[in-house]
């Protein structure tokens, strides 16, 4: 079965500092990968998704970016964090096998920008 590794669980960063959150997956090939953000007490906002290596679709214009350098690696980055970037970041995957439409989630990273 598929596994999603997401770290760290908690991160506190100053405004203007860079960010790199990494998500790695196991147990599936050619997955679709996603980054979601959940603001305090609110719903899930889709930030980026990827259907393959080097293929990134951005949903929300902002100072965040994503990259997929390997099939099972998805990275969320920022050159300069803003206060509004605070939130709970979730990595998710849709397995690469056909007819499997379930979305699986990692355990998330709570990012506080101060």
């Amino acid at each position: 079965s598929q596994t999603i590794h997401q770290w760290p669980a908690t991160l506190v960063q100053p405004v203007g500092s860079p960010l790199s959150l990494e998500c790695t997956v196991e147990g599936t090939s050619n997955p679709n990968l996603y980054w979601y953000r959940q603001a305090a007490g609110r719903g899930l906002q889709l930030l980026f998704y990827s259907v393959g290596i080097g293929q990134i679709s951005s949903e929300v214009p902002q100072n965040l970016s994503a990259s997929r350098p390997q099939d099972r690696q998805f990275i969320l980055s920022s050159k300069k964090l803003l206060l509004s970037d605070s939130g709970f970041y979730l990595c998710a995957l849709r397995p690469g096998s056909l007819y499997n439409e379930k979305l699986f989630f990692g355990s998330g990273t709570q990012l506080s920008v101060l």
Partner: protein, 117 residues
Amino acid sequence: AQTVTQSQPEMSVQEAETVTLSCTYDTSESDYYLFWYKQPPSRQMILVIRQEAYKQQNATENRFSVNFQKAAKSFSLKISDSQLGDAAMYFCAYRSAQASGTYKYIFGTGTRLKVLA
């Protein structure tokens, strides 16, 4: 663009009773998937139930069942015999199943369910 709406920010239910969470969606597509996810205090997202739009029969998973009304674009979740462990945030989600569709999963804003002992 597709949208998912959950109009109940918070619901309460007495233990052992039944509660229904509402979800409506907007799409011009005919083929899609609908989901309910649970987010307990641990914040780990858990799939509760899934429905394919082409299936007329409502999905059921133990105490969880859905009422899928395709024409009305409604997808409600019924929790029977509510338990304290059901207390969580519940999210409704949509994903296109069409070959020309995207792979985006669109989530609603969530409904916080409280279970009263």
